[in-house]
């Protein structure tokens, strides 16, 4: 699971010295940049921020779905959800590993999240009120994540691209199990159908916003595109998501909550109504329905786990292969 909350560029590009020219040439020849290679500071900082925010999103993303593990409607749904949430932890760990390869330690990355300095995907600041929300997250949020992530498997930074290959392989299970939940509810009783529609009504617009601000307002696109850490613009990815999801909603017999939605025969894409960007910035700014709960849950996990980390380190010191 993931999103492009921020593709912020830190600092200006470095001066045009020989190393920088060699770096640009590697990018032009579509060669990967690897951890020990020279890279401009701004590239390193931007990637560290992008990858670690992606990692934080995977970890915080475990919370809304984890909320339903004990209340899944059958044992099968429960083991599937457990496996999915475990995958999200795995995705977070692959990505922390990729971010660490740029020279920032794991603890620094985690503490940036806990202090509120680092961001994570805004979508996880919405609550999961019913079981149908678990279906909607898999179908829509993971569906959007796949569209965002597939191009990143070809990005210029080797460790990030390789982590993304693993993640994308696992992600399609996530989307299908979500669609399967929606399908079952949509074809169930009238109440179950209504529950599925309600979940779509609440998750549709936040999912559309996951691709970030419109291209006209996103100042980061150009540099990230040149660096090949982003391969398509926010609007291109958003259009792709809408085009592939609208027919799926029709097959489910559910209505997309957008009265302006219609197929445009000239552009061969769907036209949509206005996106409420005020809501997007309000939630990113810390005032979504669950921002405080999500961060508090991560702080509690870190603090409650401190004695375990210390005890394991002490055990390793006394009994590990390096013990004196």
């Amino acid at each position: 699971m993931y999103t492009s909350i921020s593709d912020g560029i830190e600092g200006a590009p470095d001066g045009g010295d020989a190393r920088e020219r060699a770096f640009d040439e590697r990018l032009d020849r579509a060669l990967k940049i690897e951890p020990p290679d020279w890279m401009p500071d701004a590239y390193r900082k931007t990637l560290t921020r992008q990858i670690s925010q992606h990692a934080h999103s995977e970890i915080v993303g475990m919370l809304p779905e984890g909320n339903w593990i004990t209340r899944a409607p059958s044992l099968q749904r429960k083991v599937i959800l457990l496996a999915k949430v475990q995958d999200e932890a795995g995705h977070g760990l692959y990505l922390y590993g990729a971010a660490e390869s740029l020279g920032t330690s794991r603890d620094e990355l985690v503490l940036a999240l806990l202090s509120g300095k680092a961001k994570y995907s805004s979508i996880f600041n919405y609550p999961t009120l019913t079981w149908a929300d678990v279906g909607a997250i898999g179908w829509l949020v993971d569906g959007a994540a796949i569209i965002n992530q597939i191009p990143i498997t070809r990005c210029s930074y080797g460790p990030y691209a390789r982590a993304m290959v693993r993640i994308c392989k696992e992600e399609s299970f996530h989307q299908r199990q979500g669609f399967d939940i929606m399908w079952t509810l949509a074809h169930g009783t009238a109440e179950q159908h209504a529950m599925a529609q309600d979940a779509l009504d609440r998750w549709w617009w936040p999912s559309v916003m996951m691709f970030g601000p419109p291209d006209s307002e996103s100042t980061h696109n150009v540099q990230s595109l040149r660096w090949k850490i982003k391969l398509f613009t926010n609007d291109e990815l958003r259009t792709k998501f809408i085009d592939q999801t609208v027919p799926q909603a029709e097959q489910l017999g559910l209505a997309i909550p957008d009265p302006d939605l219609r197929w445009n025969d000239e552009t061969k894409h769907y036209d949509i109504g206005p996106i409420d960007w005020d809501e997007f910035y309000r939630v990113i700014g810390g005032n979504g329905p669950c921002n405080k709960d999500r961060l508090q849950a991560r702080v509690d996990a870190w603090e409650d786990g401190a004695w375990v980390r210390e005890a394991a380190a002490e055990h390793a010191r006394k009994h590990g292969s390096d013990a004196a």
């Binding site: 690897e34 020990p36 290679d37 020279w38 496996a83 475990q86 995958d87 795995g90 760990l93 692959y94 590993g97 660490e100 390869s101 330690s105 794991r106 603890d107 390789r162 982590a163 693993r166 696992e170 401190a306 980390r309 210390e310 394991a312 380190a313 055990h315 390793a316 009994h319 590990g320 292969s321």
Partner: protein, 94 residues
């Protein structure tokens, strides 16, 4: 802040007969935890039959700024390849 657990590089043998291949890294307090974490992190879908873990600090690598010079000795020795040699017409099993 307490010192964080060491970082380990993980190598997985995907099936009997193949070599172990680097798949990524993780943190663990000791080698047993590193192996168990590697199983949970990198083989959730039957991706492996054997795992190696090595502390990252014990991995030594070539210097990317010296790549050209370091690998130069093998560059101009085309006679090491069978395609260097002319096989006369009619000669078989060579």
């Amino acid at each position: 802040m307490k010192k964080e657990w060491p970082q380990w590089e993980v190598f997985v043998r995907s099936e009997a007969g193949l070599a172990h291949k680097h798949v990524g890294s993780l943190h663990a307090a000791d080698e047993r935890m590193a192996l168990e974490n590697a199983r949970d992190l990198y083989t959730r879908r039957n991706e492996g039959v054997s795992i190696w873990v090595v502390k990252s600090e014990n991995v030594h690598a070539t210097d990317p700024s010296e790549t050209e010079a370091f690998f130069a000795p093998s560059e101009d020795k085309t006679y090491r390849h069978p395609t260097f040699y002319h096989v006369p017409e009619g000669v078989k099993h060579l």
